[in-house]
């Protein structure tokens, strides 16, 4: 996708704007600046939609928790080691360091191993991956 440094309101001028930034944000926040640009369906965006939107809701509900935690965990490997690696560790460096994506990734590992837990639709269904 096109990069628009400066017009998304999140980066310092000239900072690298990565598609993963949008994916990361869209998982938890709808209607943020930039979301309106995602109109055309392409495979990358479909993946982003499945993990970032459908996956996020399913993680919250605890529905198919482990499957989505695995998929989103892979996504966060890419976010950490590809998209934000060059920005350095500290989360509030220009463009955002890999600290926050890695923190989040560790949480996916924990959720993926643990599964939905006591308050989840997986538990209500009585079956889980």
């Amino acid at each position: 996708m096109a990069c628009h440094p400066g017009d998304c309101g999140r980066h310092a001028a000239g900072a690298r704007h990565h598609q993963a930034d949008d994916k990361l944000d869209r998982g938890v926040c709808f209607g943020q600046p930039g979301a309106a640009r995602h109109r055309v369906v392409d495979p990358a965006r479909l993946c982003g939609f499945l993990s970032g939107d459908v996956g996020a809701v399913c993680i919250i509900l605890g529905l198919f928790t482990r499957a989505f935690a695995l998929a989103i965990g892979i996504q966060f490997l890419i976010i950490t080691f590809h998209a934000h690696w060059a920005q350095g560790f500290a989360w509030n460096r220009p463009g955002g360091g890999w600290e926050y994506p890695l923190f989040w990734g560790m949480s996916w590992v924990a959720i993926g191993l643990r599964g939905g837990g006591p308050y989840s639709l997986d538990r209500l269904l009585g079956r889980e991956l």
Binding site: W91, R127, E128, L129
Partner: protein
């Protein structure tokens, strides 16, 4: 072996024992992540710059006073507190204090006027990451040290 009563039936039964064994360690992983990242920040305040520089740049500049005593408090929580969260020692006491610290980080230091201040990678950092971290600290405060902790070894906990 963890108590597995109440766990749903596994779609792939062969994975069940691995999940059951891993279950208790997942909370340890959460504690190591939340505490370990905090320890990195505490050590950065010690080695990358002096604490006084941090107090001036991060606290006094934002009008968070008294900056120097608070800087010592933050440094204590991000070193001793962080290690105790990782070890699961006096977990709830430290999680409570660190949670208060994160309330300040979110609502004072990185608030940025509300929703506009949310995105974590906006210049100087939004409140998304501190809020995420603070909520996990809140979960640790509610849950306590859990199965793999010194609190559990000691047999007593706040």
């Amino acid at each position: 072996m963890a108590d597995t009563a109440g766990e749903p039936r596994r779609i792939i039964p062969a994975l069940g024992p691995y999940y059951d064994n891993a279950r208790d360690y997942t909370w340890l992983l959460i504690r190591l992540t939340a505490g370990g990242f905090l320890l990195i920040h505490g050590l950065q305040k010690l080695f990358n710059q002096t604490l006084m520089v941090w107090a001036a740049n991060s606290l006094a500049r934002r009008g968070i006073e008294p900056a120097i005593p608070l800087a010592y408090c933050v440094w204590f929580l991000e070193t001793v507190g962080a290690v105790c969260i990782m070890l699961g020692l006096y977990t709830r006491i430290f999680a409570a204090m660190i949670f208060v610290q994160f309330l300040v980080i979110v609502f004072v230091a990185h608030w940025g006027g509300g929703f506009a201040g949310f995105p974590w990678n906006r210049p100087t950092g939004g409140w998304e990451y501190p809020a995420f971290w603070g909520l996990i600290i809140l979960a640790i405060l509610i849950r306590g040290g859990g199965p793999c902790s010194l609190d559990r070894k000691l047999g007593r906990e706040f």
